[in-house]
């Protein structure tokens, strides 16, 4: 028999294209997986900026719900996915509704993280455990017009952090160092007007990343504004993803909550 399928849409629910989302999943195979919404283009998705985003992580028959805030200012903090089974791939459903209303105005279904395996793939910054003879860390920062293969590299004292993973998992190291690394990179990017648009230099590889933070392009060469822009970059950076989670854990630790 031939077949025709249709779905009614009595409430005018907007099915949002998945390409408007960027989802990240971190899975080291040991601790709980974490995910964060890295990017959501609410304008392109046709979702009002004030709409609230809720997310459902599912794996097999297990689910976990997360409220992520408003579409124009959603939380980029990494969230621990501890209630869904590990032996099934995680998928995400996003639903949108206006504050105070139950009616859904949009949804997106079956989203996969960019890095589905939990291995986050390439990084814009390298890390290198080595002997620093005093400092705990240093930042090797290419000059702003260095070629595209150049990358910032965090050097860490190997007697403290024998491997990169040890450093990356150290809450205090991450909480203290990463924002400063971001600030220096932002300032370096801002040294040359149009650095983010230059595909021939390493700074050009940061365009998408900076765009995701929603801070706009770096200002021209007015020092005060550059510093202010860099500070904005750092604030956005520190409020997003795994870093926010780490900082929250530090705050909890300092307030007497049991640390992991």
């Amino acid at each position: 028999m031939k077949q025709i399928s249709r779905r009614t849409n009595p409430t005018g629910l907007n099915e949002v294209d998945r390409r408007h989302f960027s989802l990240r999943l971190n899975d080291d195979g040991k601790s709980d997986r974490t995910f964060w919404l890295e990017r959501f283009d609410f304008n392109a998705a046709g979702i009002p900026p004030g709409a609230l985003i809720n997310c459902v992580a599912t794996a097999g028959a297990s689910e976990q719900y997360f409220a992520l805030g408003s579409a124009s200012n959603f939380s980029r903090t990494a969230r621990v996915i501890g209630e869904v089974v590990r032996n099934k791939p995680v998928r995400f459903r996003f639903v949108f509704h206006m504050p105070g209303e139950k009616k859904l105005i949009g949804f997106a279904d079956g989203l996969r993280p960019i890095d589905e395996s939990g291995n986050l793939g390439g990084s814009l910054v390298d890390i290198f455990p080595t002997e620093l003879h005093g400092p705990v860390w240093e930042l090797d920062l290419p000059v702003s017009n260095a070629e595209v293969s150049a990358k910032p590299c965090i050097l860490v004292e190997r007697s403290i952090f024998p491997t990169a993973t040890v450093a990356v998992k150290h809450h205090w190291f991450v909480g203290l160092v990463m924002p400063e690394v971001m600030r220096r990179i932002a300032l370096r990017i801002a040294e040359n007007a149009g650095a983010l648009e230059n595909d021939d230099t390493w700074t050009g590889t940061w365009k998408s990343y900076i765009d995701q933070l929603g801070v706009g392009a770096p200002p021209d060469d007015e020092d005060d504004r550059v510093d202010e822009w860099a500070a904005t970059v750092v604030r956005k950076f520190a409020s997003s993803g795994q870093l926010r989670l780490q900082i929250d854990q530090l705050i909890g630790e300092m307030q007497g909550e049991a640390s992991e």
Binding site: M1, R7, P10, L13, N26, D115, I127, T165, V168, L243
Partner: protein
Amino acid sequence: MAAWQFRMLNPNENSGSSISDDNFSVEERTNVEILVRETLQNPLDARASVDDQVKVSYRVIEVDLAQSVVAKALFSGAWVEHAKAGHLLQSSLPDKGRFLLIEDFGTTGLEGAYTDSAVDGPSENWNAFWFREGEGAKHARANGGAGQGKITLYLASEVRTVIALTRRKSDERELLFGCTRFLRNYRLNGKKERWAKEARWGGEPDPDKQSIPITDRVLIDAAKKELRLHRADMAGTSFIVPLPQDNLTEEGIRTAVINEFFFAISRGRLEVTVGDKVLDESTIVEAAAALGDSSRQSSSFREFLRLAASKSKQQTLATVKSGWHKTFDESCFDPMELTNLKDTFELGDPVVVDLPLAIKTKKGEVQSTTFRVFLQSDEELERSEELFIRQDLAIDGEKKLKSVRAAQPVLALTFIEDPLLSEFLVCAEEPTHRTWNAQRPKVKNAYMTPNVFLAAVRNAAAKLVQLVAPVGQRDETALAVYFADPARAVQVKKGPSGDAGIKEKPGDVSVLTIPPAKAKPVSVKPQKDGFTVRAHAVPESTFVPLECLVETAYATVHGDPFRLWDAADYWLGDSGKFTLDASGVSGLVADANQIRFRLDSDDALVRVQGFDENRQLEVRLKYRELADEADIASN
């Protein structure tokens, strides 16, 4: 006979304190280590033949001062009076006193003139030791050279006094001599005359005459017997430090010897006996291991030094091309040699490289020299360790590996044995022999661009590490959790790529016209609270009745909504809730979530209403044209 010469200053002589003390008071070393360093360095320089092994003995003995002939001669009434005036002695001498004995064997003894302090020359060791300060008799490449090391012997004595019995190789004479070096010029109690800082103990009592050594057999034999010297008839010098500082113990000295001269002893160049324990090539490793926390070097580094000592005379893995000190890069090696070096280093085996260095003197003479660098990587170590050894002396204040960012800790030894290069480095050495300084007048006056050559020696090991060490394990993904590269997301490959086959160029392919979509004889139109199924006339085709099955279910987030439908959701047979309008339809039956019917004409329709207006409804229409069956049957 033996007598002290205390010399009164004439009115025109300056007075003040001893200045060379300060050069040995700021080291990161204990006074024991300083003493050991200086007292072993001297016999190493004075070895009878270049390849001879030097033997040195340290002992601390106790002597009954009241009964000792030597002590009575040494600590005479005049000496006690002057020692008290010069604040060397606070009260009377004790009944029993300790003596530190430092005896070297296999050396030449203090050679040269001993009756005329005016004689100078490279072999005038007697005058250099007893009558010079700030300049030695040693050839410049000897381990000493600054002429200040002897002060450490005086500093080791609470009464700043040293005596020595030397048996000279050249004339087999035995000479006994001594000296007290006061802290500063002093005045005797109630007197205004100033006295010289140096008082000498010898065979001439008149301070206005040349001081000469004691050759009196009685006193010399008494010294040998009472102090239990091992000298016998062997050439060399026995230094005697009366009333040594309290912390100068045999245990402390043994620790210092191991820490300062592990390499020289491991090479078989030096044998040191401390008390009754012998430190030589065969015992040094075990003795060093027994030091525990007192060892300044890690066990790994000592093992590395021992290995280097065994290879110090062997063939190297590579020799760097001359001119390397200007630009030290891969072009300085034969490619095969460099590959071999890298492989050896990566395997954790010792790398031995010779580095030629042509240095130029102010006289225009170009001296071809060479030195050797030993390297070994060890990932088990906590940190890198390094040492510079000029001949047998550790220049341990030089640290250059700090600037190297190797992925793994490195053990490094820069070993200079070349006499000409040693001579250059001695000129650049600070008095403590722990660091080099290209600004020292001695090296600046004798050599062209000493800073260039010194930098070459200093930085050779560090640069070599950078050349042969594997590129560090730079982690390019660990920070993706914070700095994920949006352009480099992981591409998940689904299934094998298989054989792509041979791709042929398409050539000229005629463009096909895509046929228009074939109109369907039926449609489903969603509505707010339901749906409508409507038949259509298809152009150029005769309508035939359609048998239809409509399945419905509220949309679900997960799973098949039709399978997940439940009677509690709704029941299409509930005529009170659902309205079914039909036209041109026959056989309509609504049950559960399904409706069956037949569309008999091309304007037939079925409209279903009554679904929840807040929920999405999935509608699936299955249909078939009944004419098909008729046709098949008629065929």
